[in-house]
């Protein structure tokens, strides 16, 4: 078997380093749609949306993370994600994520008149919580737990 090519992967948020590892592939939700980065990818810079990041590690296992906005920089054999927030799927409390989303949706329904900024904030929050619960679902599917 030929030696497996890997790429350095790092994801950081203002609070912490979420993950730093050698990986085989990374899929991220950019503003233009989901992309998958493999080793020797051309240098790229793009903005991220809320969504699910999936990486495949050297041993073939995948990891799922939720992310809400940020940037990705792919340089020579290195992927850096500067995320606004990011969490590993196993750290997310599904029930809390759902609850938070419901709460945000309710706020948006109840408050008919508020300024644009607040509306955008709440929408971003909904997108974030949705990404979190999607990440958990995907993770459960992969790990075959329920």
């Amino acid at each position: 078997m030929p030696e497996q090519k890997t790429i350095k992967f790092e994801i950081v948020t203002p609070e912490r380093i979420v993950m730093k590892e050698q990986v085989v592939q990374v899929s991220v939700p950019t503003k233009q749609g989901e992309i998958t980065v493999l080793p020797s990818h051309i240098p790229l810079v793009a903005g991220l949306m809320s969504g699910v990041i999936e990486i495949v590690k050297e041993d073939g296992n995948s990891e799922i993370m939720s992310v809400s906005g940020g940037f990705i920089e792919v340089s020579k054999n290195k992927v850096v994600i500067l995320a606004d927030t990011a969490e590993r799927a196993e750290e997310i409390d599904m029930a809390k994520a759902e609850e938070a989303r419901e709460r945000a949706k309710k706020t948006i329904k109840e408050l008919r008149h508020f300024d644009r900024e607040r509306f955008a904030n709440i929408n971003a929050l909904i997108a974030k919580e949705m990404a979190r619960s999607r990440a958990v679902k995907r993770w459960k599917k992969i790990k075959k737990v329920d």
Binding site: E15, R16, G47
Partner: protein, 320 residues
């Protein structure tokens, strides 16, 4: 020798001072702990993002223009420089404020041949640049003692970006104090705009690294080599959807992060400096009390000896 009562009063007053400085030391220590926690949390993010943006800074856009974004373009003629100075709100923090102000002043003297720079001050004590060196102050922002949210730098970032883009300033520097450890803080001046890797080393500052020029030396050297050898254009990045859109969003965000980080570094440094200063004050007070106690005892004993001498002299006189 001074009067016993006088010495007693002094001892009392110094002990009170000592209590106060001790309390201030404790307060500073607890604030410092929080500030350090905050600064370490965001440091990786700040450093990484600064690297990315420095990486991008010299990428050409392919249509003959030198850089991809106005915020990355060096201006041919630097007329006016804006300096963001991060100082403290209150004094009693040792050389913290004078160190950063001197650093800013020296680097202006050394490099600036253009018009007098203007200062944007964060923290009350920064205002003395006007008094001491007669620099103009363009704006003054309050500073919270505990900084927790990036929101606090947003107005500053906005002013700076607008003034830069409108051409009021041709260069933006930020003067802050880099937190190395509780005993060591380095004042530093960093070039914020335009983002430019070819500027003097000392202005590139990646925060938190303890080297003389204050950078991740290896990283800079590597870059330098690359750019000088290959006439720039090493990394031709692909941007999605396009450079302008990505950078329009990315650079202001990263500037905010840099400012926020500088503020956090300064804050951690300030509290450390204050703690150290107060610790010294407490020690000095303790020494003084010890010394005065010695004097006090001596003078007390002298008084007693005197009395005894008088009494025995009196007794002797009677006996004769």
């Amino acid at each position: 020798m001074a009067n016993t009562r006088d010495i007693q009063n002094r001892i009392k007053s110094i002990s009170n001072t000592k209590k106060i400085t001790k309390a201030m030391e404790m307060v500073a220590a607890s604030k410092m702990r929080r500030a350090i926690e905050a600064v370490l949390k965001t440091r990786t993010y700040a450093n990484l993002s600064w690297r990315i943006v420095l990486n991008l800074s010299q990428t050409g856009n392919g249509n003959g223009e030198q850089t991809l974004h106005p915020l990355l373009t060096k201006r041919d003629k630097v007329k006016k420089v804006g300096i963001i100075l991060i100082a403290s709100n209150r004094g009693l923090c040792g050389g913290f404020n004078s160190a950063i102000i001197n650093k800013a002043h020296n680097s202006i003297k050394k490099h600036a041949k253009q018009e007098k720079p203007e200062f944007i001050i964060i923290g009350k004590k920064g205002a003395i640049v006007k008094k001491y060196y007669d620099y103009d102050i363009a704006a003054e922002f309050p500073k919270a003692d505990i900084i927790s949210e990036i929101k606090e730098v947003l107005p500053i970032a906005k002013i700076v970006l607008n003034d830069y883009l409108s051409g009021k300033y041709d260069k933006i520097m930020v003067a802050y104090t880099d937190y190395v450890n509780a005993a060591k803080q380095i004042p530093r001046v960093k070039q914020l705009l335009p983002i430019d890797i070819t500027t003097q080393d000392e202005y590139l500052g990646i925060v938190g690294k303890d080297t003389r020029v204050g950078i991740d030396k290896e990283f800079i050297d590597k870059k330098k080599e690359k750019y000088s050898q290959n006439e720039k254009h090493i990394y031709e990045y692909t941007f999605e959807p396009n450079p302008r859109e990505v950078l329009d969003e990315m650079i202001p965000r990263l500037i905010e992060v840099q400012l926020f980080q500088a503020l956090l570094e300064s804050n951690a440094s300030e509290h450390s400096a204050r703690m150290a200063a107060m610790h010294q004050a407490t020690d000095a007070a303790k020494d003084m009390v010890d010394e005065l106690t010695l004097f006090y005892n001596k003078s007390r004993q002298a008084a007693i000896t005197n009395e005894i001498a008088e009494i025995s002299a009196g007794a002797n006189a009677l006996a004769e």
